[in-house]
Symmetry: C2
Subunit: 253 residues, 2 copies
Amino acid sequence: MIDRYSGVPAYRQVADDIRAKINAGEYGPGDQLPSERDLVDAYGVSRPTIRDAIGLLRTDGVVIAEHGKGVFVRSAPPVIRLAMSRLSRTEREANRGAFLGDAATGGFTPTSAVRIYFEPADVRVADLLGVDPGTEVCVRDRVMSANDVPVQLSMSRLPRTLTAGTAIEQENAGSGGSYARLEEAGHRLAYFTETVGARMPTPAEASTLQLTAGTPVVTVTRIAFTTTDTPVEVNDIVMAADRFALVYKIPAD
Amino acid sequence: MIDRYSGVPAYRQVADDIRAKINAGEYGPGDQLPSERDLVDAYGVSRPTIRDAIGLLRTDGVVIAEHGKGVFVRSAPPVIRLAMSRLSRTEREANRGAFLGDAATGGFTPTSAVRIYFEPADVRVADLLGVDPGTEVCVRDRVMSANDVPVQLSMSRLPRTLTAGTAIEQENAGSGGSYARLEEAGHRLAYFTETVGARMPTPAEASTLQLTAGTPVVTVTRIAFTTTDTPVEVNDIVMAADRFALVYKIPAD
DNA sequence: GAGTGGTCTAGACCACGAA
DNA sequence: TCGTGGTCTAGACCACTCC
């Protein structure tokens, strides 16, 4: 099964062969692969080599290993599509904050845990908010869950001059969320910018989002602007890449 | 240095320790880590264990190993920010296709290699384009490079009924790109949707994009719609996540 | 208890890069 | 030539899952 003289490392050949079998449907989603010991016999290499091969497939997100049970072909969870409309005033007036809007669109039961605290703005946040570094900001640090599975982290920061005395500084910001409170306080929102990227999760993110190896995170930095083009909130969002897709609509003019 | 009785695997403790030193600035971006043999002595574990630790940091994109040279702390390449305006008619009329518009925004020298071919639409593409499966589509399969480094893959498909006899079926679609040709042919574009996600690259993608381990790809599926809400193009774009960020503007109403 | 993956060792040899 | 990472072996013992 393994060509010793091809120049391609044995563990790569094994990984490629298993990957090919998965693509060919020989192993379907959820199927169990042969045990590592069986693969040792099948390919005629040592167990560490087999483990290197499986390690490759794991970091690529192709398979998942379960201790004591076996290695299984990964089946993709349903993707939740997040539309831009989740940020619309209509949604807010229907009592939904952004994440609850997501839930309505995505069809899952949302829960969220919030931690509120205050801190001086660091250079990046100050720059994005157009304030001086050190200005006190209100931080709403949230873990959002869909059907009790944590799927999104959100760290929202607003200058405290805007939040003092409002429900934004409460754990429950009230119906329509912080954006609704901002508008009530006279800061009418005009638009948001979202800067989207992706990277591998930090260990902390991997653990709270219960990410399996080989799952990147999508990062969104959302900035809310008022009708006077003043930034009033910067929100750093991290979500599991295998569970979300973001949909944007762009005018052609 | 290693606590044998903590329950935390040795290779994890080593990885965490090195990661902490990087975060603390003890090793800065571009710095070389001690050699694996030195780390063996420093931590008192075997080389495979050290290699497991470094493997973790590699798949997390924290360090890069260079054969024969050493292991280095990764320094993030400058991120190219892609704004929505790259799809505007103004950009097209300034002779720029979407990728050339990206280049103007991102400040890099763009080149691109195109392969044109025709094939029947598969179920997904047919569905997105609103045509019957099997309908012949024109495929523009491109590898885009910035300063001669491949950074983006783009697979654009249009129903051949729209492209027959136009420069879209030529390797060089002409100034303003395929979108300009479509509008000249009377298919005035109204808007695009972009569906953004992320995942680990396939081996083929990792090799053509020259991705180091631990770099995910950002995927964008762009669909172009005409003023009659007819989809005319579906474009699957794959880009290195460490080199791009996508910026979208969302109205608040 | 039997089978699974998880961790770890102490070596060996190879391929690459730089001096 | 020497130091670097890359690959590979043949074991060992542990932790988890299921019967």
